[in-house]
């Protein structure tokens, strides 16, 4: 299904803001997670500004959908989305990564809108599973006797991060408990800290692995809003299984001269900063 052009246009605009604000944060913090922040930016925009049920005026609303960004080596576009949505002032961006800052170099739950303190890889999907199971406890039931969870949980998992065995422990358990209110989105940007995913420890083919563990699995272009939104809608309809969306993405997507480069954790020189701001106008 093709979405309304206005919706797509709005999301494209939001994603551009997220990338631009992330550049400002990385500039202010003098370091940052450029590659992952940019590869996931469109997915974050689709979730936060179109798909998820949440309320910036009430961050602790019990029935809000949860976004767990597992690796957190990409926190800038998450902070940018929360700032853009109104969870906190964009003035916070200027102290990103500095001593005493609210916005630490990895996400922390003390920040309004952040659900999970990330940074230790491979753990976020388990946390998301715990939230998803909790959403079904004492929940009402539908006509077929299935619990109607009070909220959904979306978890962004890195492809390099999936080297961690705990990811697959959570994958097994989510299938066993038919956690169909859990959606894992793999930001499959093909790079990890020190090289490509294929060079380091080859995990291809990625989608088949999730499928083999019993997940409802969809492969998409993670920069195409129609594909992102359709995959999320499909995930909502398929019952009895957790959902994996394998999003093929491009590391540093959004600044053409940076794309496909492993700017995993980097500093922005004056030239790079100017180039990024120009590309994101």
């Amino acid at each position: 299904m093709a979405y309304d052009e206005k919706v797509i246009k709005k999301l494209e605009e939001k994603a551009k803001i997220l990338r631009r604000d992330a550049v400002e944060m990385i500039r202010a913090g003098e370091s940052g997670w450029m590659g992952g922040s940019f590869s996931q930016a469109d997915i974050i925009a689709a979730l936060m500004f179109c798909y998820m049920k949440h309320d910036p005026r009430n961050p602790q609303w019990e029935e809000r959908d949860r976004l767990i960004v597992s690796k957190a080596h990409c926190c800038e576009t998450v902070y940018a989305a929360l700032g853009e949505a109104g969870y906190f002032s964009k003035k916070e961006y200027q102290s990103y990564g500095k001593f005493g800052a609210t916005l630490q170099a990895h996400t922390e739950r003390k920040v309004p809108g952040i659900e999970y303190s990330g940074g230790s890889l491979g753990e976020g999907l388990s946390f998301a599973l715990g939230e998803a199971l909790a959403a079904r406890i004492d929940a009402s039931e539908d006509a077929s006797g299935r619990p109607v969870p009070r909220f959904r949980v979306f978890c962004i998992v890195g492809d390099g991060e999936s080297n961690e065995g705990q990811v697959w422990e959570a994958v097994m358990a989510a299938t066993h408990y038919k956690a169909d209110n859990l959606v894992a989105i793999v930001d499959h940007n093909k790079f990890q800290s020190s090289g490509t995913v294929e060079e380091r420890i080859n995990m291809m083919p990625m989608a088949e692995k999730w499928q083999a563990f019993g997940w409802d699995t969809t492969e998409i272009d993670g920069h195409d809003f129609n594909e992102i939104l359709n995959a999320l809608e499909k995930a909502d309809k398929v019952k009895g299984k957790p959902h994996a969306i394998i999003a093929h993405t491009i590391k540093c997507k959004g600044v053409p001269s940076f794309e496909h480069k492993n700017l995993h954790f980097c500093k922005l020189s004056d030239e790079m900063y100017a180039e990024a701001i120009e590309a994101l106008k």
Binding site: S126, F127, L129, A134, A135, P147, Q166, E169, M172, A173
Partner: protein
Amino acid sequence: MKRNYVMEPLGEMKAMYQAYNEEMVELVKKNGNIVLLYGDFPRGAAGELVQKEYPDRIYDVGIAEANLITTAAGMAGAGKIPFTHCHSIFAVGRAYNQIRQNAAFDKLNVKIVLCNSGMLWAFMGGSHQIIEEITALRVIPNLVLVSPADPVETKKVTKAVAEYFGPVAIRLANPPVPTIYKEEYPFELGKAVTLMDGEDATIIATGIMLADALAAADMLAKEGIKVRLLDMHTIKPLDEASIINAARETGAIVTVEDSSIIGGLGGAVAEVVVENCSVPVKRVGIKDRFGQSGTVAELKVAYELTANDIAKAVKEVIKKKPPVLASQ
């Protein structure tokens, strides 16, 4: 010698996990937020009840301790009170980062039941006997670490832990232990219990070793040596005031644990003593060795954990008192 709160003679032998389950059976009925999670671990009475009556409040993630702890943290993030159950050696050894990062870092309301805790899971041998848990866990900020001594205290700990908001690890040793306490004794998290008072030295014991420490204190009393006996059931936050008072008032301390003395209860007490009131300390516990199979009695002899060893340590530490204290 006069004993406070102690049954005369000591009561029924019971496994701590059984006592824990007996209390948990009551707690799960009263508090609908309690969720039980297992890592392929036997359910016990509470698990069986929850499976039957409240099936959406029990989960088993299989032999996957890392996932067990983090899934529990996620549940706590959504307002539940998860209790995890697996062997201590694997919770602490294989899911240390998950305990630190997912439970303690955000002070989430996760309760980690360290089953078959300590050195005295006798038959299983060195791969399963954990000597590191006190050392490894007490260094983690926000985490409360409790080590009950008998079935009555295990029940009181279980209730208190369910009522406390925040991450807690509970050490439950495997072998059946005698009932030391009368039901009505006062229990407070973070506050040591004085079972006996005396002025010659203080024995500070934790967990399964309290019964041996009590026997040692009785043996010493018969020889005219009067010791204070403290049950340090909460390792963290440590009851520093009781330790400092013991140092000031008795001038010598022996610590007793079924865990490594390196950074264990012995290490923790020694830190407080040297910073506040330096007196001789001797540490009874595991001395930088791995475990092995055997009976509880054989292991206690081999690792110098018997009442005799404790009594011997007390005599040695009294000899080390400086003259001014020794003459008191």
